[in-house]
Amino acid sequence: MSTPTVDEPTIAQPPPPPEQPVVTAEHFDRDRISRRVAILSGVAIAIVIILILRLWSLQVLDVQSYRAQAISNGLRSIDVPAARGQILDAQGKVLVGSRPSNSVAIDPSRFPDLLTLCGRDLAGPVDARTGNERALGISAALTTAASLPKQRRIARIEAIQQQIDGTKQVRAWAGCTKKYPQLAELARVSGITVAAMEDAIHTASIRAPFDSIVLARDVNRDVLFYLKERAAQYPGVRIVEGTARAYRTSHGAHGTTYPLAPHLWGELAEVSADQVKDQVTYRNAQPGDLVGQRGVERYFDRYLRGTNGSLQRRVNAFGDPVGPIVRSQAAKPGDNIRLTIDYGIQSAAEAALREAITYAKTHGHPAAEGGAIIAMDPRTGAIRAMASNPGFDPATLAGPEGQKYWNSLASDTKRSPLLDRAMTGLYPAGSTFKPVTAIASVEARVAKPDSIIQCTPSTTIDGQTYRNFESGVNEPMNLVQAMTASCDTYFYELGKRLYDATPKSGQFEPQPLWARRLGFGVQTGIDIGGDAAGSVPDATYKKRRFGDDRVHNRWTSGDSILQAIGQGDLQVTPLQIARLYALIANGGTLVEPHVGAAVYGQDGTMREQLPTAPGKKVAIDPYILSTIQKGLEGVTQDPNGTAYSAFQGFPIPVAGKTGTAEKLGKRDFAWFAGYAPANNPTLVVVCVIEQGGFGGVTAAPAVRQVMAKAFGVQEATIGQISSAEKAGVYFGPALGTDPAQQLQTQGTTG
């Protein structure tokens, strides 16, 4: 800048203009002002020089680095989600596959204040808001917690409740919808709840800030078309194409369909921050990936998930593509998993379970609510079917209304449809536990397989009278007979002898010791995990449970006697019972149950045979096992057997045991556990019907139905079998025996 030079002469004073104050030379000191202007000019020149030097450094010296950044800036890598692998049955039938599905997502760059305005933050500042909004925030927090594993869920919900009670701090959503009315409108038209949106936005806050936020997965077609038609009204809202799970159903009578093995699969959800760290279960999982949360989807997630591909496109800052694809890497679809589950047996098991429950309900046991059936190969532990009832529809759960559906399922405490009764249902074992008592007694040398004990209508031990389930009997029995007729007094006597043989400390009581050896009171180690351990009471248990209560805290003969017939505080899962009968069937090996068989690539080639544990050989006298086997065969084949009528005419020899377990305050639980063919067992089937009455009447016919399917036997329905049994007559078409044959009325102790 140029300024008047110093040698310029001072301007003399002008004469005063009429409307102005007098201006004198002293007032308008042009020299002085010139000097000041020179200072300002210096400042201006200095600023321009600094700016030009900076410009030089940016544009000329560092141009390479900035140009590279600019080029990468314009390239957006877009994830191409990998198709999740299919879950196949033992024959390769698709049980869980994929179908196209659309998600609604928003682009955060179009919503600059989204996370601060809309992200729910329980610890955030208190805003003025209505109770309704607070409730929405809380429900959102609770629904997130609902998808966690059980222990963490409980902890999380407690924490949330503490936070709510303590601080009442839930950030309002109202500010967000006020600023972005299209979100409120989106919530209204799409049925995506505000809480769910808030949740999604909150989750996104831990992820990369420029990734799109999925508000709702698998939206229905109506919403999709609505949004596509009115895209201009919803700036920043996008439809993202992807896939969702499709589940095979099983077909019931009259064209009805039922969800197949819903408890087995487990749901998918976006991987959590903790799960990303779990590089064993969720190998290579990236934030935003959908991963299995439980069951098969979780355990085999690393095979099923696949690897996302990516596209690199030239885009503008809003992610709108403005050029061709620069580079692409195809998504690698997940592998398929073949299970040991057999679709036919599984369908049959579910149908049998439904029919058994219906039958019990309509035949004097209205409280019959649920049950489970497990079919397992006793040689390997491969599970062929695992059914639990009541169930749910996994397709609905994975769909747009999934959250609402989940809430309704989780709140149904009366029926507990989410509970997988086959693996996590805890029941008194009843008479199905008697083989454990038999093994323990012989191994503890308190009885011999051939010992004769009088089977009486009742017995009094230590001043306590114990009744036999069958009151009209009074004859000497050996173990085979006692097992066949399920004589309670025989096993009371064994329980008493086991108690007497126990060292005074009570620590080594043979009954609980053998129960644990035979797989009770611990998890089975099933590959998909999540099964319950149950409990086997002993002296330590009593001490722990009753503490200083001198009356109850000791292990008494009564405890031992009740445990001998599978009662008392004993809690078992159907899976544990299946394992016990597998051990009896295979001659002493405690198998490790599993559902995974092999991993297949999308081209159908086998990638990997999933390892199975060989099973644990338990040292048991073979003679006692064969004696028990004989007793179990008698159950279905001897007219005195408790399931004789249920299996009458069944062409394949079945060995098994009924159980009618008592539970305080409930109706009897019906059990049947058995295997076939009796001489060369290839299948163990266990059925339990909650409050279903006699095992021989309710549970055994269901097992028969499953076995019929597994061995290809043409059969009547369970209702016919059971009715015939009750009437003492069986007229099933395919039994091939004399339909008029008189059957004894059964006195089952289960």
């Binding site: 301007i11 004469p15 007098v22 141009v63 600019a70 080029i71 600059p112 809003f318």
Partner: protein, 397 residues
Amino acid sequence: MTAASLLRRVDWILIAAVVLLLVIGEQAVKAATVNDLLGNPGFFDRRHIIYIVAGLGFAAIAMVVDPRIYRRLFWFIYGTTIGLLIIVLGFSAARGSQRWIPLPFFTLQPSEVGKVTMIVCLAIIIADCVRRDIRGWGMATRAALLMLPPFALVFVQPDLGTSIVYIAITLTVLVVAGLPGRSVALIGGIAAALVILVLGIMPSIGLPLLRPYQSERITAFLDPQGGSPAAYQAQQAKIAIGSGGLAGRGQGISQTAGSFLPEHHTDFVFAVVGENRGFIGSAIVMLLYLLVFWRIGRLIPRARNLEEAFIAAGVFGLLLTQVGVNIGMNLGIAPTTGIPLPFMTYGGSNTITNLTAVGLALAVGARIVREQATVSGWQERPRRRIVDPLEVPTDAV
């Protein structure tokens, strides 16, 4: 004053420099916004041209009007400015601050209008001080009393950038008016202390005086990798400018046209020039600004009277501050504040304001004490000629 004599006396160099900047700015706005509205690539450009035309109209009016008339309109000008600044606080906030009054066709930004009107008011007050020999603290106090209401009203909008411009204008005029160097240093020291107090001490003792977004911009400036939106903006501006290189990348899919750079047609329009035209284009822009400063600065000592000298000084301060801070922030050496780049940033209020300010400078320039470029020297000429050139009899020219 006749149109002919005005056109003869007008500073064509200043006009040429400003028009060149307007053209470069218009090209940048056009290139940057071509993808902003789908299906309407010329939307911002057309509006910008309308604003420029309107601004040139205002500049012409300001040039024609004799600045002496402002003394009589002093309270009207001051009152209207304050009134508008109060009214704007009643309108709903946009992007977190209340800066705009919605009018048909146009949203008015009173703080921009105030930049020009306050220059005029300040010049009158300071001129009176000088005439009455009120210098030093008396003058500073009077200037402060005048500027405090508009400054406070702009600060609470909140508009930190514009309020800084008000301070800069005041300081420039005071420096020109001869505020002693010690006082300038003291005021500068107080200002620096205030900045430290507002930015550093008050937040740390729990009394933040800045809105979160303001302090965030400061933090973003101090920590450009911090990941805040302001840091993102500043980083994107640097990438845009840096990628321009020596000759520029031309127009097309670029940082700015691809919308990676937010505010690419407003506060960060210089980055568009930097990317599209490179170092050469950017340096030309800066030299053009230097030309503008020179043409305005040279008027100050030659003005017809003190008011006009201080008006020119105020315009000088206004333009220098805006150019310095805006380009500095584009280059990542000044914090992100909402200060537009004169003549180039898109927007009605600031385009009209800055062009009106140039119009004021042109008005002062057309009325300066004309040196008669004769060998004998101009100081011998009768003073009457230079009191008001407009009243000079035609035979004397």
